[in-house]
């Protein structure tokens, strides 16, 4: 089984971050980067599929500047077999531009499955997977939480509001991964050493036209501070009055 996993290098959004001077991007100072959360789950899913089938390879693909090679090597450290770096000075915001470059690389690659995280944790567009599937003419199942492959067909589960949807699809196919398939493994220390010797191919990214650009990024306005209106039973009438007249929840 031959599986491609498309991964994105993103800032760790759990850390404190600031908006850069131009207001269109994050301030890069102090940011730490890693594989986007759901893309990590996609790498894990790819590795488990190949392990359970006893043979095959997992190829990790990423677009961006040279720094993405560190992210690719992390996936190689987890156990991916080889990596492709599609070189681009920056990653466009427009999903179609990215999908065009990925489809150009993956279309003739002979992959049984192309996996994505269900969304990148920085841009949160959820578009690249389905767009790449469309450009390659492949079926696409999004945000799956379970995946089985047998006899050249895939079965996937999606968690809906209060229900589980089971889908069947022919291969090859594009699948975007939610969390349910298993936590991404840590790269072992031997894996980190082995990653240095695994193939990492660099090619220019054939990005499509970028028609979308970020106009401005802004933090949500601060919540107004809380107010203490009094203590004990004496405060209740005023509290009710404010809930009725100001908060308008009663």
């Amino acid at each position: 089984m031959k599986i491609a996993v498309c991964i994105k290098r993103v800032p760790d959004m759990d850390l404190r971050f600031a908006i850069g001077a131009g207001g269109k991007a994050l301030d890069p100072v102090g940011l730490k980067f890693d594989i986007a959360d759901f893309d990590g789950y996609a790498v894990e899913a790819g590795l488990r599929l190949v392990e359970s089938h006893g043979s095959g390879e997992v190829v990790v693909v990423s677009i961006g500047p040279t720094a993405v090679q560190e992210t690719l090597r992390k996936a190689l450290g987890m156990g991916a077999h080889r990596a492709i770096h599609l070189d681009a000075a920056e990653v466009p915001f427009d999903g179609m531009s990215i999908a065009t470059a990925l489809a150009a690389e993956l279309k003739e690659g002979g992959y049984d499955l192309v996996l994505f995280g269900r969304m990148a944790t920085d841009s949160a567009n959820q578009t690249v997977g389905p767009m790449a599937a469309h450009l390659m003419g492949l079926p696409c199942v999004t945000a799956i939480s379970k995946l089985d492959i047998a006899n050249g067909r895939g079965t996937a589960e999606r968690q809906l509001e209060g229900a589980t949807e089971t889908m069947e699809f022919p291969m090859p196919a594009v699948v975007t991964i939610d969390e349910g398939l298993g936590r991404p493994r840590l790269p072992s220390l031997k894996g980190i050493m082995a990653a240095k010797k695994k193939p990492l191919e660099v090619k220019p990214a054939q990005l499509g036209a970028a028609n979308l650009t970020v106009d401005v990024i802004a933090f949500p306005p601060d919540r107004p501070p809380g107010r203490i209106i009094g203590e004990g039973a004496d405060a209740v009438p005023e509290l009710i009055r404010l809930l009725q007249t100001e908060a308008k929840v009663l």
Binding site: D14, L15, K32, E70, R73, K74, G77, L186, P187, S188, L189, K190, I192, M193, K196
Partner: protein, 394 residues
């Protein structure tokens, strides 16, 4: 609960690390966060080493990680190895001690002084956690003066007959194999000290927990008794010879301990910093008061100095020029620094600081052991004194 630990890096020390070194550090840091932090408080209070963690540590390659791949190890450089110890001790000194003993005090002597057969047999089993090791050097009356040991090994037609007692042995009760140091000649002949690989199943070998510890509670510390304990002739480490051999092992372990001290100090500083911003007293965060800022500034300064000092020590070790005296300086400085940081962090935390829910007091208690073991702070002072004057004072 606090946010995930992201380290302390005021001087961009990360930029002095290679990608591989950072990757190793990140793996261990993530493992500690996910597997160790949720359970360490309870393990400490229960006084139990969390054995369930051993397979995960072995799978990721934490044991003997700087030994070669041909023996089932990760083949990392010494800076990476140090970063493993730093991150493990960020969690708990007892867990770092476990890994230090397995790697630096059991696997290292087999690697350095063992036959090829011994290396091929033992090292992969120790790396995989299938075998757990301990290091029997210290005796009830011989701690800072190990050359005075009275454990003996007499050669007989059937093998080596060991007699004696060892004390303060980390991992002793759970070890399946022990590296025992014993005199093969006259009792005052330190040159006759040799190492032996002694399976814990050997008749006449017994280990029992030392009870009542108020420090390193999540670590086994044991007494080992060897009573007519007969091991085969090939149990001796053929290239071991004299007190220098176990001291070489201690240099390896002390190197890792110097890194570990940074981890414990970072944990305490991180906890104190976070608490100082959340704890409101007199209508403002205590981090807005000069006294607490003084504590934090002191901790940050000492951690940063230790990071740079220890990274250079690692580079010297990777270059092959590191001296035992340089290791003494780092162990002495870093553990003393960590003791101070833990104590100040605990004080900053006020009454909450005595709870196991917070980490600083656990580190504070652990570090009192680390201050004393692997060469007491005072012994390292004297080693440095001898190094610069040429005059031994002990």
């Amino acid at each position: 609960m606090a946010n995930a630990f992201v380290g302390v890096d005021f001087y961009d020390v990360d930029s002095l690390l290679s990608e591989e070194e950072r990757a190793v550090r990140d793996t261990v840091r993530a493992w500690v966060e996910e597997h160790l932090m949720p359970i360490i408080g309870d393990a400490y209070i229960e006084g139990e080493f969390p054995k369930q963690l051993i397979p995960g540590m072995a799978d990721l390659g934490f044991f003997g990680a700087n030994l070669p791949e041909e023996y089932g190890c990760a083949g990392l450089n010494n800076v990476s190895y140090g970063l493993i110890m730093q991150e493990l001790e960020r969690g708990d000194s007892g867990i770092r001690s476990f890994a230090s003993v397995q790697g630096a005090l059991v696997m290292y002597p087999i690697f350095a002084f063992g036959s090829e057969e011994q290396k091929k047999h033992w090292l992969p089993r120790l790396a995989s956690g299938e075998e757990i090791g301990c290091f029997g050097l210290t005796e009830p009356d011989y701690g800072s003066n190990p050359g005075g040991m009275i454990t003996t090994a007499k050669e007989t037609t059937d093998g080596w007959l060991l007699n004696g007692a060892k004390m303060w042995i980390t991992n002793g009760s759970q070890a399946t194999v022990s590296i025992i140091w014993a005199k093969t000649g006259a009792i005052d002949d330190t040159k006759s000290i040799r190492g032996f690989i002694v399976p814990a199943s050997t008749k006449g070998y017994t280990a029992k927990d030392q009870k009542g510890k108020l420090s390193l509670r999540a670590s086994d510390t044991s007494e080992i008794v060897l009573q007519d304990c007969l091991v085969p002739k090939d149990a001796i480490l053929p290239k071991s010879g004299g007190i220098k051999s176990p001291l070489m092992c201690l240099t390896q372990a002390r190197y890792g301990i110097a890194w570990g001290g940074i981890g414990a100090a970072m944990a305490c500083y991180d906890e104190a910093l976070s608490y100082s911003k959340e704890r409101i007293m007199f209508g403002k965060p205590i981090g807005q008061t000069q006294l607490q800022q003084s504590r934090l500034a002191e901790m940050l300064t000492e951690i940063t100095k230790a990071q740079l000092l220890t990274l250079q020590l690692g580079r010297l070790k990777d270059r092959g020029t590191m001296t035992p005296d340089q290791v003494s300086l780092a162990k002495r400085n870093n553990i003393n620094m960590a003791c101070e940081a833990a104590r100040e962090a605990r004080r900053l935390l006020g009454a909450n600081g005595i709870l196991a829910e917070y980490h600083s007091m656990r580190h504070m208690a652990n570090l009192e052991s680390v201050y004393t073991y692997e060469g007491t702070h005072d012994m390292h002072t004297l080693i440095l004194g001898q190094a610069v004057t040429g005059l031994p004072a002990f």
